[in-house]
Each structure stands twice: as structure tokens, then as C-alpha cells.
Amino acid sequence: MKNTLRQRIGEQFSLITLLLWALRVGVFIVVLWGSINTLASGRYEASTWINLVIAGLAQGSIYALIALGYSLVYGILRFINFAHGEVFMAGAFTSVFVAEALERSGFFPKYPILTFAILLIVSMTSSTVVAVLLERIAYRPLRNAPRLVPLITAIGASFFLQYTFRGLYGSGFHTYPEFGQLWGVWNIAGMDIQIVQVFVFLASLLMMAGLYLIVERTKTGKAMRAVSEDKEIAALMGIDVNRVIVITFVIGGMLAGSAGVIRGMYQPQGIWFFMGFHPGLKAFTAAVLGGIGNIPGAMLGGLFLGVFETVGPTLILQGLGIPAANQLKDAIAIIMLVLVLIFRPQGILGEKLAEEKA
């Protein structure tokens, strides 16, 4: 009796494994087939691909900056702050008014670097204030509530913030002024490389390096890691857990605020109260992709998603004969997420959560 049961479980297990493998091989073949078709058609030169990758890295680094906010908070509270997209919006939307004023007054054309610094400060401050208020007012009172409660609260907070900002700043679109110096191209080895994309990538990388240093090297960063592993023991070490949680929201807010300015410089149009939703969703995808709670994972997940959704439609979908492939980049991002989760449920760099929760 015992034996047959075990056998049955064994069979079922191998059936699922078999199906998963069939799926994996299937996906691989489709991706390969599409790519080969596209490449064989000879419609694109190598420089096109390189440009697409660079554009993807630029887009991805904005996702990564926002994704870090999701991941940091998840790491500490095991909770998805679904209002984090609005934290990003708060910075971009507030700073666009300062940017417009500085342009009108003639300050911006004269001192573009100073303007950039001012915008960064304004945006990061606004985002941080929103993030900290969120934690204080919406999440802290629910710290010991069942997990679903703060999650739903976060969704509510997201709407609340959107419409608060609409009330504050109106429902119209705003446009970031153009940083003219960034809008040229560099000609490197016969390829035209957009300066702004390189700038966006490097600026984000700098922010992320800063974050990495804080988390790995400073006392506060170590306290953050300790709290994320075991709050009770962290408190036993004399770490003020509430303070560490606030600091986590502050850092997430600062990164989102910097992403707001960088997004404004890279894609000046469409700054309005709803602008946080879409990048928020993508960044959340990126965070899960990289392994939620894992800091390098969020960075990698963001870059990966950006590159994949920029290169993927042209490379894979066109080769499969799908028309207007570029409009499917969101679909491809989500398919990407599902696939990664099928292959690696814990995300690219995520550690096995099962063991940790036990």
C-alpha cells in the first residue's frame, strides 16, 4: 500500500516535471525560431541591435531605481508597497513645476547643472516625504495585522495619492524642459549613440552604487539587513527597528525621486498624476524578476526587463511574423515575468524563501 502511494506520487511528480520541461523547451524553441528568422532576414544591422540594447539599459535603469524601493521595503516588512509608483510620481510631478519656473525665469538655460541639482533635491525630497508619511500613517498602524490588510491599504493609498496630486497640481500634462546638451549623439565606431541614454544609465548606476555601499558597509545598512532577517533579535541588539523601517522608506523614496528627475530628462513628456502607475507596475515586475527582497536582484531585474522589452519585440516577435511588434512590449514584459517565475520561482537572484520562512 505504502509503496504504491509513493509510486503514484513519484509518477505525478515526474509528470509535472515533464510538462515543465516541455514548456521550457517549447519556449526556448519559439524564442530561438523568432530570433533566427529576424536575424536571417537581414533587415537590421548590428548597430541597430546595439542601439536597442543601450535604449533598453536606459529604460531599465529607471525601472531598477523604482524596483529597489519595492525590494527594500519587501525585504524589511515582507510586504509589497503598491503605492510606490506614486512615490515616484510625487517627485517627478512636483519637480516639473520647479523646472518650468526655472526655465521661464531664464535660470535653467544659464545654469543647467545647477538646475539638475535643484530638481534632484526637490524631487527626492517630495518622494521621500510621501514615502515616510505613507509608512507613518498608512502602514505602521497595520504592522501586526494580517498580511492582506496592509496590501489592500497600499492599493487604496495609491489611489489616494493619485487624486491628491491631481487636486494639488491639476489633471493636465506637463513637460520637463529639455536639457539640450544631452540630446546629441556620439559617433563611436560608426555608430550613433544617444548621449541621454548613456547619461541616464550612468546616473542610475551611480545611485545604485551609493545604495550598495550604504547597505553593505555602513552601520545603518547592516542594521537594515539585521532587521530584515530577524526583527526580534535585531531589537535585542539594541537596534531601533522602527527607525530602521523609516530609513528604509526614506532610501526607497530618494531612489524613486531620483528616478523621477531622470525620467523627466529622458522622456520629458507626460508628467501628470497618473504617471506612476505604469512604471510602478514595471518596476514591481522587475523586482520580482530579480528576486524580491534582493537588492542586486532589483537592479539586475530592472535592467533585464528594460533590455528585454526593448529588444524582444523586434528580435523575437517580428521573426514570428507578428505585426506591430513594438506595441507588444508590455505584453512581452509580463510574459517574461511569468516565464522567469516558471523557471525560477524565487527570481533571478532570489534565495529560496521556503527555507527562510520555516
Binding site: K219, K222, A223, R225, A226, E229, D230, E232, I233, A234, A235, L236, M237, G238, I239, D240, E351
Partner: protein, 242 residues
């Protein structure tokens, strides 16, 4: 040592509840400076709860916890730790994804002077030469015995006046148990007051000055370790004599 007769840590008529459930009833414990005191008792008798009550992780519903004359019950854990109590928790509870060195650093989180911290790090290395060899290793990958060393080291890094230990012998091979108790004795001789919770009564009483026995949340015996070792009831209930 002129204050030797005044307790450094004292539980006075402490009663603790988990919600509506009574867990500790009228617990009185006195620990004098420089002593090793042990708290014995079977599973679920409330030993861990007693330590959590001292540290403010559980707030007593009645009675006071007093450290060096000052009432500390009612303060939060951070404040109590800052006043000079640290603990080696049940099951070690290291920060598994952090390195051994980072774990030790976390133990010294509340301290400022880097000189004192460096000295205590050296002291930990002297007690546990093995720990020094493993500083860069993730704590989660250490063996059980090594984890126990780091957990004790981490608690010492706070340079506590009183060191609380929750079942340090748990899950260790017999020769490691002996070694751990030797270390506890050594720590005590270096001047740290020790309050150790144990199920291994023989071992604990062999190094302690005083012992208390807890049964379903009440202290049923309190005496010098020597007397407890000879106590008839004690011998039957806890020391494995039929």
C-alpha cells in the same frame, strides 16, 4: 565589590500573561553581581518567558524588574539592552545571511567607543579561537557548535553587566556541552554576571552559585546550587535519579 549584597538584577513578584493566559506567577529572583545563577525547569515551564520579561520583549502585568536599583520593566528592549543586559537567545538565532564579523558587530550596535569594541572583539577571539578563523563566512553556513560560539560572542560584544543565556546546551554534543559550560564559567570569572536558563540541571548547577526551579510559571525551589544538588525532590525530578 562593596555592593555585593545588593542584587544587580531582581525580579520582584513578577506576573506575566500572554493575552489572557497566565504564564508567570509571582516570580522572585535575585542575582548578585559576579554570580552565576541558573533557572531550571521542564518544557513550557516559562523559562524563556522569564528572560523575555527581563528584556521587555514581554511586559509583566504585575511586579517589577530592577537592574542595579532602577526599575526597568516598562522600558522597551532597546532601552533595556542599553542599560547593560544582553542575551544569547534560544536556538542561537544568528543573522544567517550576514558574516560572522557582522554578527559580532551587531552585538556591539549600541556602543560607540571603537577602542572598547576592539578590545571585546579580542576577548571573544580569546574565548573562541575558531571564531577568528571564520570571520568572513556567512553565519548560516557555520556548524551548530560554531553558531553557539558566535551567539555567545555576539552577546558579549555588548559588554553587558548581566548576560542572559537561554539553554546554551541545547542541540550540542556532550563534549561541546561541557566546553560551553567551561566557557560560561570563564566569562563569569572575567566579571560578567550570568543568568542561565537550562534543562540540563546537573551541568548548570555545577557552575552556578544559586539556582531556581520553575514549574508551570511558579518558582517552586530556590536555593544555593550546592543545596539544590543535594535536595531530594530536585534529585528525583530534575537530576535523573529514580
Amino acid at each position: 565589590m562593596n555592593d555585593n549584597n545588593k542584587p544587580i538584577l531582581e525580579l520582584k513578584n513578577v506576573t506575566t500573561h500572554y493575552g489572557p493566559i497566565l504564564m508567570l506567577k509571582d516570580v522572585n529572583v535575585e542575582i548578585r553581581p559576579g554570580e552565576t545563577v541558573c533557572l531550571l525547569g521542564g518544557n513550557a515551564s516559562g523559562k524563556t518567558t522569564t528572560l523575555k520579561t527581563i528584556l521587555g520583549m514581554v511586559v509583566p502585568t504585575e511586579g517589577d524588574v530592577i537592574l542595579a536599583g532602577d526599575k526597568i520593566s516598562g522600558l522597551n528592549t532597546t532601552e533595556i539592552v542599553t542599560k547593560g543586559i544582553s542575551m544569547v537567545p534560544e536556538n542561537r538565532r544568528l543573522f544567517k545571511r550576514m558574516t560572522v564579523l557582522e554578527n559580532l558587530e551587531m552585538g556591539a550596535f549600541i556602543r560607540t567607543g571603537s577602542k572598547g569594541i576592539a578590545e571585546d572583539l579580542e576577548r571573544v577571539f580569546e574565548l573562541f579561537p575558531r571564531v577568528k578563523e571564520r570571520l568572513g563566512q556567512r553565519a548560516g553556513t557555520l556548524s551548530g557548535g560554531e553558531q553557539q560560539m558566535v551567539a555567545i560572542g555576539r552577546a558579549l560584544m555588548a559588554n553587558p553587566k548581566v548576560l542572559l543565556m537561554d539553554e546554551p546546551s541545547m542541540g550540542l554534543a556532550p563534549f561541546l556541552v561541557q566546553q560551553t559550560f567551561d566557557i560560561i564559567q570563564q566569562i563569569n570569572e572575567q566579571g560578567t554576571t550570568v543568568f542561565v536558563v537550562e534543562q540540563n540541571a546537573n551541568m548548570a548547577l555545577s557552575i552556578a552559585n544559586h539556582g531556581y526551579v520553575l514549574q508551570t510559571g511558579r518558582i517552586v525551589l530556590a536555593d544555593t546550587a550546592k543545596n539544590l544538588l543535594e535536595n531530594k525532590m530536585m534529585r528525583q525530578a530534575y537530576l535523573g535519579e529514580v
